[in-house]
């Protein structure tokens, strides 16, 4: 489903030197598979997710999702592809503050080429336990609730792949397990492949496949 080959990403730092962040020879995630990715802070996990989602472009190499070679797509097409095939859950939720929970989910649909499906948006919010919070603005929701809206939003367009970047790190301890279960269960229900980045051993040990970025990222060795 997801296939990375000879992927390289370098940042130019303010002092002019180059920072090699990613150098991945080969990486694969199957359809519907759930993977947890761990690694030291600064080893390139977020950068990797950005590259997979097409938010950043790699310097070289290939990112393939299903049969789509997103590194070859023009930017606008890549944006559409991201809207339709890839869900993203952020560490800091990143709900849009001006919109209600329901509108945040609908917004994500708006950016894809599909039709707005209010029914599905409501269904998803009900699934994450927020049927009574649909018209609330993010500021009126607890952090746990905000992240649940974010999960519903990420799944709005029936993606093939969900990227979750430390989704429980900013959630209070009592809600962490709940969010984690929710993401894993909904991904399973919708047959969405999941790559979840985490720092937490607690979280990581619940996955059957644990990928340590430093082990397959050749760039990390030089840090």
């Amino acid at each position: 489903m997801l296939h990375l080959r000879e992927l390289k990403k370098t940042f130019r730092q303010p002092d002019g030197t180059e920072l090699h962040v990613l150098d991945i020879a080969d990486y694969h995630v199957g359809a519907g598979e759930q993977v947890v990715m761990v690694g030291e802070s600064g080893c390139g996990k977020t950068t990797l997710l950005h590259v997979i989602a097409g938010i950043s472009r790699p310097d070289s190499g290939k990112v393939r999702v299903d049969d789509w070679e997103i590194t070859l797509m023009p930017e606008a097409e890549c944006d559409c592809f991201r809207a339709e095939r890839i869900g993203y859950v952020f560490q800091t939720f990143n709900l849009l503050p001006g919109f209600t929970a329901l509108e945040n989910v609908l917004l994500s649909m708006r950016f894809s080429r599909r039709r707005l499906d209010k029914h599905r948006a409501r269904q998803l919010l009900t699934r994450v336990g927020l049927s009574h919070r649909m018209t609330h603005r993010p500021t009126m929701l607890s952090v746990g609730e905000q992240q649940r809206v974010a999960v519903a939003r990420a799944l709005a367009n029936k993606p093939k792949l969900l990227l979750a970047d430390e989704p429980t790190a900013n959630v209070d301890a009592g809600n962490q397990q709940h969010i984690l279960d929710l993401i894993r269960e909904t991904c399973k229900e919708e047959n969405v492949a999941l790559i979840m980045v985490t720092h937490s051993q607690e979280v990581a040990k619940q996955f059957s496949r644990i990928d340590r970025l430093q082990e397959f990222n050749r760039a990390a060795v030089h840090q």
């Binding site: 809207a83 503050p97 001006g98 950016f111």
Partner: protein, 436 residues
């Protein structure tokens, strides 16, 4: 969830600042609207004076002076023309072209208001503002116009009719009397003969409101007496009125003649009459509408552009304030824009959202300005009616206002462009990492 709604939400999010910028745009637009309407009112009240007849015939000389004098009752009196010219129009060779000719005589005043000698047909046959009839008592649409009494009669030489403003200012009412003064100032010679007010005209919104009308016969008679008084020594021959009248008939002079030409083609007939008159040695004929249009263009025409230019500048300044407000918000919103991009929004989409926001703010301000402008004018309309007689309804739009919406759209796109470009260029990965 349309892009409009997304833009609207971001306006709502910063309701206070958005409200202020929309208000500043509103004030600018209100200014434009008031300038347009006020200018329209001035133009209308100015042009209106010359409507109702096709030609003015008066002594040779400046066209403008003749019009100012006979239409607006302003400026120095012009010379006179022989009464026989009037007869030419009513019974002579020009009669086939002429539907109506109204003689007017000037040279007297009362408390600063012109006393005009004329015939009763001035108020029965002549129309004003195209098709409106003069009213004593109620106006045609049933409004109490303040008019009272009735028109003066041809057989009563010393009857007078007051224009509505003149009546109010001089406090002369039906049944009261006044003495006309020679000339237009205060210091002139006061005639002994008293005129008797028989009617007060309903307001017309034309210069007629600011004049007093008397029977032309009486007008001639006070002149006759004048003559008698001044030349008593060698005018002793006058014995009876009959002889006196005979004598006056020859020397009778009038100031001007207002002429309506016959259907079906009054303007062509007017050209014919004007041609004949202008070839003659004694008088000139002018088309008041044309002269007034030229006068207006010369006096206030340029002013419109100056006022409009200033008002448009205000709108542009308001537009820039919209740009500043959106641009300032961009630093907070770079993150939001990055989130939208991460959700799959294209660069162009986020750019359009910002442009729509600018357009919404401008249109909102524009709508507010229209309401404010017309509301303001509507609130002042009774004062304006009193001053100028021009009745501007709350919703009397000027044609130029149609350009307001496309103009605002253009302005909004121009001022929205810079912040929209900033949205377009947002570095998604970097802005996502810099959590606010």
């Amino acid at each position: 969830m349309s892009l409009w709604k997304i833009a609207w939400r971001s306006i709502q999010q910063r309701a206070f600042v958005s409200g202020l910028t929309a208000l500043s745009m509103g004030l600018g637009v209100a200014l434009v609207v008031s300038v347009l309407v006020v200018y329209g009112v001035v133009a209308q009240s100015f042009h209106r004076g010359g409507e109702g007849y096709d030609l003015i015939i008066g002594a040779k000389g400046g066209k403008e002076q003749l019009v100012l004098n006979t239409v607006f009752y302003l400026s120095e009196p012009v010379g006179n023309i022989p009464y026989s010219l009037y007869e030419d129009l009513t019974d002579g060779k020009l009669a086939p072209y002429v539907d109506l000719a109204i003689p007017v005589c000037m040279g007297h005043s009362y408390q600063g208001f012109r006393v005009v000698g004329t015939v009763p047909e001035m108020f029965t046959e002549l129309k004003y503002r195209g098709d409106q009839s003069y009213e004593f008592g109620q106006t045609a649409d049933g409004r109490p116009g303040g008019g009272k009494g009735e028109n003066f009669k041809s057989e009563n030489p010393f009857d007078a009719v007051m224009g509505s403003t003149a009546a109010v200012r001089t406090h002369l009412q039906v049944g009261e009397e006044f003495q006309a003064v020679h000339g237009s100032g205060e210091g002139g010679h006061v005639h002994q003969q008293r005129f008797h007010v028989v009617g007060v005209l309903a307001p017309t919104g034309t210069p007629v409101d600011r004049a007093i009308f008397v029977n032309m016969k009486g007008f001639f008679e006070i002149h006759g007496m004048e003559g008698t008084a001044a030349h008593k020594e060698h005018a002793g021959a006058h014995e009876g009125h009959g002889v006196h009248d005979e004598h006056d008939e020859e020397a009778k002079q009038i100031t001007a003649i207002l002429v309506c030409c016959k259907q079906p083609n009054p303007s062509r007939f007017a050209d014919v009459v004007a041609g004949v008159i202008n070839k003659g040695p004694t008088a000139q004929a002018v088309q008041p509408i044309r002269v007034i249009a030229d006068l207006f263009e010369g006096i206030v025409g340029k002013l419109e552009w100056v006022l409009l230019g200033m008002a448009v500048l205000t709108v542009i300044v308001a537009g820039i304030s919209i740009m500043v407000s959106i641009y300032n918000s961009m630093s907070d919103r770079r993150h939001e824009i990055a989130v939208m991009r991460a959700l799959g929004a294209r660069r162009v989409t986020v750019m359009v959202i910002i442009l729509l926001e600018s357009i919404l703010l401008s249109l909102l301000g524009g709508g507010l300005g229209l309401l404010l402008g017309h509301g303001m004018i509507g609130a002042c309309s009774s004062v304006i009616v009193n001053w100028t007689g021009v009745d501007i309804g709350l919703l009397q739009f000027q044609k130029i206002e149609l350009f307001l919406v496309p103009g605002l759209l253009l302005l909004a796109s121009a001022v929205g462009y810079l912040p929209a470009l900033a949205a377009y260029r947002t570095d998604v990965a970097q802005s996502l990492t810099n959590t606010p």
